[in-house]
Symmetry: C2
DNA sequence: CAGTGGTCTAGACCACACC
DNA sequence: GTGTGGTCTAGACCACTGA
């Protein structure tokens, strides 16, 4: 304010608000600090609460704010970088990966997944549920789809269901040769079950990472991982063999 | 509707609406078809327009709808996959990359970028503006930051500004040895200038791809590319050396 | 319990595209 | 012009958290 003259094409109020609050966040608040409640803020800026909320929504989308019903609005910490690179990668569940699996059932995959797997609707498929935790918080929920034909040696009633069968499926997968993989990232909104795992409301914005695992010229498995878009930054460490020196990397701006 | 009984924990109306409309989109509409206007739709479902809009916003976020002011709401085509892999990668601007650069100026990079470059606020930096076009539509706008120290041989007034200087900067970059790179993806909202390039409103959801280019043990350049989140799916073709057969890939679900 | 953010309403006006 | 989606208002009630 003060710098802008009267605009011939005025920007929306919520947009202006977002910028004003965003700047205030940089200068007057520190991480974790709680903001005044929405009704007070709206009154202070002389706008309706709906308008104020539109600005806060934007800031939350950008990962700068965190809002919790019944609690309040707080300044969010910087997004955590989670590694999703495929360098030297193997099957899911190998070595010490950052996922913990906790359930497995037979299910029919959604149409887009079935298309990637090249399966018909009546083909048996295992659906394995996993959770990725970082710094004590869940950051992603994943569904791993494995057609029964990919793990033929898995004895039918090896384990009735649940975690033990999950382990069995992963074990069988390891025995296949992994020819390569294929990854894509897109924006989505959390389904009710994923939202619950991630401690968010249904419809919350998420980054959907879809991975295809190839073996013997076919798609042997597909994972669909949904990452919290508000708190996560997906990183791909595609650095060659170079060792990067630790220059300014750790400096603070202010 | 009709299938659900009375809910003890009722889901929000807009969430239910979103699902209902989403299903209708699958069954009763085809790509490009225009929906009834918001006022009619709201009346038809017996909700306020704001509630109906909340449902449409979700669907637009998921890339299922496209809304244009003054025109209407249409069924969106499937997201286009844009390759952002770094396999066999080189400097930006090399060979036939999919970007077209059209401007270059000197500027001070935003704080996070300056931190990655390890530059102070008074160090000269070139800011190069580029646009990525796919299937005739702009899908991403990019800012490439190059500290003047990275291209020392660029004669100061080689070209005053604009596209010719952009080409000169890129040309100089090619001469450096590229040791590796580093990429991250996060959710953001479009700044006013990016939004304009991408034919969207300010604040529209975008996928921000940040790339660091390493040379001689330091960060020689940084790009910040903003992709339209509604129409784009970022793909990483990390497939090893395997050739994937074209099984079911092209089928339609019906 | 009181206080928070989340949902919803019924209106109004504006900016834009197209005729 | 007319019709569209985009913004904004001033209220109301609900669902949740924590004292």
């Amino acid at each position: 304010m003060g710098t802008t003259q009267l605009e011939s094409v005025p920007e929306p109020k919520y947009w202006h608000l977002k910028n004003v609050i965003g700047e205030a966040l940089d200068s007057d608040f520190s991480v974790g600090e709680i903001l005044p409640n929405e009704r007070d803020l709206a009154a202070r800026f002389g706008v309706a609460r709906a308008t104020l909320r539109q600005a806060l929504e934007q800031l939350e989308l950008e990962g700068r704010l965190q809002r919790r019903r019944g609690v309040g609005t707080t300044v969010a910490p910087p997004r955590v970088g989670v590694d999703v690179s495929t360098a030297g990668q193997a099957w899911p569940g190998s070595a010490q990966d950052t996922w913990q699996s906790y359930d497995c059932a037979k299910a029919v995959p959604p149409a887009p997944v079935a298309r990637m797997l090249g399966t018909g609707i009546e083909d048996e498929t295992y659906a394995l549920r996993r959770l990725r935790v970082s710094h004590g918080h869940p950051v992603a929920a994943e569904l791993l789809y494995v057609p029964a034909t990919s793990v033929p040696d898995l004895s039918a009633i090896d384990a009735p269901s649940g975690p033990s069968r999950a382990r069995a499926v992963l074990r069988e997968l390891q025995r296949l040769d992994l020819d390569g993989q294929d990854r894509s990232v897109e924006l989505g909104s959390a389904r009710a079950d994923d939202a619950k795992e991630l401690d968010r409301l249904p419809g919350a914005p998420v980054l959907v990472v879809t991975t295809r695992y190839f073996s013997q010229g076919r798609t042997a498995a597909v994972t669909v991982a949904t990452y919290r878009a508000d708190t996560c930054r997906l990183t791909f460490g595609d650095t060659g063999d170079v060792e990067i020196s630790h220059h300014a990397e750790e400096r603070r701006a202010s």
